[in-house]
Amino acid sequence: MRRFSWFNATALTLGFAFLYVPMLILIVYSFNESRLVTVWAGFSTRWYGELFQDQAFLDAAWVTLRVAFVSSTLATVLGTMAAYVLVRGGKFLGRTLFSGMIYAPLVMPEVITGLSLLLLFISIGLDRGIFTIILAHTTFSMCYVSVVVSSRLVGFDRSVEEAALDLGCTPFDAFRSVTLPLIAPAVIAGWLLAFTLSLDDLVIASFTAGPSATTLPIKIFSSVRLGVSPEINALSTILILLVTIGVISASLVSKRRIVQQKRDEQMAEQAA
């Protein structure tokens, strides 16, 4: 192992401190006995208990999960379709315009997206609630899905699709039985991205949510405005834990796949 020079060590410490000290403080204080967030009064898991008693929080969490699940699934279907047409559709009239328009919402300020959706829902007389949040989240997260999926489609040997056609597949069958399995990692990544985007979106959700449906970020934000409660710390700690587990397991799975693939290829070359 290489030893770090003092410069590298300092840079590393500063960088990681910058990223993680705030979260660390939050986690530590979630186990605080005291109701006062800034005063340490001993270790306790009391706020976790209270959190699970708080029906408003649980409702908000349930709404958030449903919104995230449905909107990311819709966004994945639409985004994959858009990516497929833009990458594989050949040169059709207005292709550059379309691909530009697909990516535009990525750089659009969320306030504008939220406001325009709000105006749309009001003008067509749609009651705001869980359904409108789902629509709004689908709208902005499908762009992210289509970016992820099209990058996979671009670096993909086209002759595999042609082989499927050549062997008797209709274009749809070729897409379903060959293209889709091969771009599956990107589709799944796109879904996860859409899911997390939907989970932590505050701005667009607050424009499009109605009194009947409140998402977790809205709930957290509104309760923090009345003062940070230790319950929020507990909730955030749970969220951090979930995200960490997700990221670590995803990277472990993909790393094991790569190692396995390398080993297989070596074995094949030796056997030949």
């Binding site: 595999v160 042609e162 050549d166 062997l167 008797g168 056997a271």
Partner: protein, 380 residues
């Protein structure tokens, strides 16, 4: 290198006027924007033929093949397969299968499922599919790899999976796009013979695209030499080699000496070429379309040029020169001899004795000679 045992009747359906070809191209042109990839091509390919499309990269051979598969449509002209006009028929509805240059194996499916892929989309009953896949695995000697995924087998095995997959549906026509391009030289040679074997066993019509002239000559019953979107000459390998119709073909296939000059037609299908002041004229077989007095090129293969220390007196074509370079290849030696006017003529001899002393060395004065029929005088 043709097989030692020839079939009793020579296979040459293209010479029989009663035979209808399986594939016909009639005035086929393909344009991509301003670029003409295929320029007014007429072709006919017969049943059970092993037909090679040969040419440098960018000559249009791959486009021609992709039109047969249905991935490209001709801009003009018609393509018929088995008498049926192929216009508007998509790849999945053609009895044509293709082996791709990159093999295009489905990485998420096992060898078995790769081969069964086409069968599952045909009207073959389910219980016969397994039998057919087994047969294909046997044919390509892949039985023990059936359960592996494409990344778990070697390059040569992948090539055989691609072949088995393309042959599984027993297509009328099999297209092979540079099938051996990714294999190393030794494996490539073995595989060429394997391909010929399989072609004979399955009695399928093969069309192969290649830029490797040795490969085309080895495997094909007929070779179509292409250049710039045009078919220059279609013939059997020996005729392509010995009777090239143009300087381009002579130069593209094998090694050749070319001498430019003016032709004079003579009796008995011969012609003479005046090529340098004071030098004796060269006598050779007259090529097609040769015009008296016009510009012409004499072409002779190095192995048909004899090299000797004394002037031979039994041959009409004799030139004097000096050895400029010797390429010793083991089985052959090629002498690069500088003749009058500074032109280099290559003469090749077989080294059929192990212990003979090399007769010539650098700067030796030698005589080059060849017979009247050794070379051709070609127009242009």
């Amino acid at each position: 290198m043709k097989p030692a045992v020839k079939p009793a009747a020579v296979f040459a359906p293209w010479e029989d006027e009663n035979e209808t070809p399986l594939i016909r191209f009639d005035g086929v042109t393909k344009r991509f924007g301003d670029f003409t990839a295929i320029d007014n091509v007429d072709l006919s390919i017969h049943r059970k033929e092993f037909y090679a499309l040969l040419g440098p990269s960018g000559c249009g051979k791959t486009t021609l093949m992709r039109m047969l598969a249905g991935f490209e449509a001709p801009s003009e002209g018609t393509i018929t397969i088995g008498g049926q006009d192929m216009k508007g028929i998509p790849p999945n509805r053609r009895e044509v299968n293709m082996m791709f240059q990159s093999y295009a194996l489905f990485p998420h499916l096992s060898v078995w499922d790769n081969i069964a892929f086409g069968l599952r989309r045909s009207d073959m009953p389910k219980d016969q599919i397994g039998e057919r896949v087994k047969e294909m695995l046997r044919l390509t000697r892949l039985e023990q790899f059936a359960r592996r995924k494409p990344h778990q087998i070697s390059g040569g095995q992948r090539q055989r999976v691609a072949l088995a997959r393309a042959l599984a549906k027993a297509p009328k026509l099999l297209l092979l796009d540079e099938p051996l391009g990714a294999l190393d030289a030794k494996l490539r040679q073995d595989t060429q013979f394997e391909l010929m074997d399989i072609q004979e066993k399955t009695e399928t019509t093969f069309v192969i695209v290649t830029h490797d002239q040795e490969e085309a000559m080895t495997v094909a019953s007929r070779v179509a030499v292409m250049d710039n979107g045009k078919v220059i000459q279609v013939d059997t390998p020996p005729r392509i080699y010995e009777n090239p119709k143009s300087v381009y073909v002579a130069d593209f296939i094998g090694d050749v000496n070319l001498i430019e000059g003016r032709a004079t037609l003579k009796d008995a299908g011969l012609a003479s070429l005046t090529w340098a002041e004071g030098a004796p004229e060269i006598i050779a077989t007259a090529g097609e379309g040769l015009v008296n007095g016009a510009k012409a090129t004499f072409a002779v293969r190095p192995e048909k040029v004899a090299i000797s220390a004394e002037r031979p007196d039994d041959r009409n074509n004799v030139v004097h020169g000096r050895i400029h370079d010797i390429a010793y290849l083991g089985n052959l030696s090629t002498y690069h001899v500088e003749i009058a006017g500074g032109q280099i003529i290559k003469a090749q001899t077989a080294n059929n004795r192990r212990l003979s002393r090399r007769s010539f060395t650098w700067e030796d004065e030698v005589w080059l000679s060849w017979t009247d029929t050794a070379g051709l005088v070609l127009a242009g």
